[in-house]
């Protein structure tokens, strides 16, 4: 199995926006994600998860350590890494179809070929019939489906997801998690998924990286031995492979949070 994403010795400091005080966000982070793997990253809030994602996406330059995607050092944003953001990052003035095809449009793919590819992903995320709607006509869950399809459609090497389901209601979240699992199986994408939701991490991940609180370090890695195909919430809640992993992740995360409260 090839390693698609390699992070070595990554540290990051930045000055606080208001106080100007130095914030040590990440401290010597090392991790590897192999081809087709679904890696979840969990940690207490403010542990530098989003900083990590922004560095991987190339939106935030890093000075210490290295980040390689498919063997290439990350120097800025690029189409080899697709990002699904926490908030709605799809454009309100583009229809569903034109949002999803935006990456291909940027790459300069001819319209007929683009249309075919877009339709494939519209169908994959279950938005058939909504191609010509504007985002404000969609529910929160549907908007995130559009964002997911837009990223997938551009065919990145690695997909980075930053708490993409944090803003939707609990019912929708469960559906989207199952959908994402199905899509991950279908597309065999390499995914790094950031979340603060332990259940979500255990349900979706092949492996889960647990981060310490700030400065964020890799605290532990938990492997979740639950076949992707059998990940349905109804069954997972009773499956020891899921519950065991979830409890282990939870206690690791709680250690970080408890210190904070004390």
């Amino acid at each position: 199995m090839r390693e698609k994403l390699i992070v070595e010795g990554l540290s990051h400091h930045y000055p606080d926006e208001y106080t100007g005080m130095d914030i040590h966000a990440l401290d010597n982070v090392n991790l590897k994600v192999t081809e087709g793997e679904f890696a979840a990253v969990v940690g207490p809030s403010g542990c530098g998860k989003t900083t990590l994602l922004n560095i991987l996406a190339g939106l935030l330059p890093h000075k210490v350590g290295s980040v390689r995607v498919d063997g290439h050092e990350v120097k800025g944003p690029g189409p080899d890494r697709g990002v699904v953001f926490q908030e709605h990052a799809i454009l309100p003035w583009r229809t569903v179809e034109r949002n999803i095809g935006h990456g291909l449009e940027i790459q300069g793919l001819p319209a007929p070929e683009r249309k075919r590819r877009v339709q494939e992903f519209v169908d994959l995320v279950g938005l058939t019939g909504f191609e010509n709607r504007y985002p404000h006509e969609l529910s929160g869950g549907m908007k995130q489906r559009v964002a997911l399809a837009r990223t997938l459609c551009a065919n990145p090497v690695v997909m980075l997801m930053d708490e993409p389901f944090a803003a939707v209601d609990a019912q929708t979240r469960i559906t989207l998690q199952e959908e994402l699992n199905r899509i991950a199986i279908a597309t065999r994408k390499t995914i790094l998924f950031i979340t603060h939701n332990v259940d979500e991490a255990a349900f979706l991940g092949d492996r889960c990286f647990i981060f310490t609180r700030r400065p964020g370090k890799l605290k532990a890695t938990v492997k979740i031995n639950l076949p992707r195909e059998s990940r349905v919430w109804k069954n997972a809640v009773a499956d020891p492979a899921f519950t065991g992993a979830r409890d282990e992740i939870l206690s690791l995360v709680r250690e970080e949070v408890r210190d904070d409260d004390g």
């Binding site: 190339g58 189409p79 990002v83 953001f85 990052a89 454009l91 309100p92 790459q107 006509e137």
Partner: protein, 277 residues
């Protein structure tokens, strides 16, 4: 999130005059009452209270008569066309300069910090205060009036576009960067459409100010046009013509705003759901 429109009352479709009915329902009746009351009061003042009404306050009837007279002579259409043309050319130039300028200011902090105090300074000098110096340069010419309109339109549009560009969520730009977009592609696909609602609002505001500027400009530096008409009429005591000019200025603005500028603004904003309804 989604707008749920209440089912329309079925009876309304069967009415004989749906437009009239809608007009009456949207406060048209109240408006008509106010207008009629105003006209009645005006007639009463003119006929009964005011001495020498022809000089101080001609009755509505004589204003109508004066407009019929001017229509007959072909002067009125001529003046109206003059004024509208000046507004269109001046506003067009103002928007042509102001929109790119506003985008530049919105995109670049350094540039906007540099220009902001200067802009603020000039914003306080109204177009009319600028007229004397422009008249020294170009006299009473078409150029003078158009320059003053351009100047008047420039500030509201620049400021609105500046704010519009600044308020585009950063995440849209970041999302496009991660899709591999170039700066030019970001400008085309995010900045321009993102600023469009504020371009529309700024244009509406700017043209509104421009409409006042064209009248003022014509009074002092114009030849023909509505502003010139009321100014010269005053000098020869044609009070009915003065009132006619004022009325036309108001009516024409309402028509322009309602049928051109507002739909333009509402279209971009509502279609994309950029405002909470």
């Amino acid at each position: 999130m989604t707008t749920v429109s209440a089912p329309a009352a079925p009876a309304r479709r069967d009415r004989k005059h749906p437009r009239l009915h809608r007009f009456l329902h949207q406060g048209g009746l109240e408006l008509a009452c106010v207008l009629l009351g105003g006209l009645a009061l005006w007639s009463f003042l003119s006929h009964v209270v005011i001495p020498r009404p022809d000089r101080y306050l001609p009755s509505p009837g004589s204003v109508v008569f004066s407009s019929a007279d001017m229509l007959w002579k072909g002067l009125l259409p001529d003046f109206v066309t003059n004024t509208v043309w000046r507004l269109l050319i001046g506003s067009g130039l103002g928007l042509g300069v102001g929109i790119p300028f506003g985008i530049l200011l919105g995109l670049n902090r350094t540039v906007s910090d540099m220009f902001y105090p200067i802009l603020n300074f000039f914003q306080s000098i109204s177009g009319i205060a600028l007229l004397p110096i422009v008249m020294i340069w170009w006299g009473t010419s078409e150029q003078t009036v158009i320059f003053v309109i351009l100047y008047t339109v420039l500030f509201p549009i620049s400021f609105n576009v500046l704010v519009g560009v600044r308020s585009i969520p950063r995440i849209y730009i970041n999302a496009l960067r991660t899709l591999g977009a170039s700066r030019l592609q970001i400008a085309r696909d995010v900045i321009l459409p993102g600023a469009l609602p504020s371009i529309a609002t700024g244009a509406r505001l700017g043209i509104g100010f421009g409409w006042r500027a064209v009248i003022a400009g014509e009074m002092l530096a114009g030849q023909r046009g509505l502003g010139w008409m009321i100014f010269t009429a005053q000098q020869v005591d044609l009070t009915a013509q003065v009132i006619l000019g004022m009325t036309l200025i108001g009516i024409m603005w309402i028509v322009l705003d309602r049928y051109l500028l507002r739909p333009l603004e509402a279209d971009t904003i509502q279609r994309w759901g950029l405002v909470q309804r």
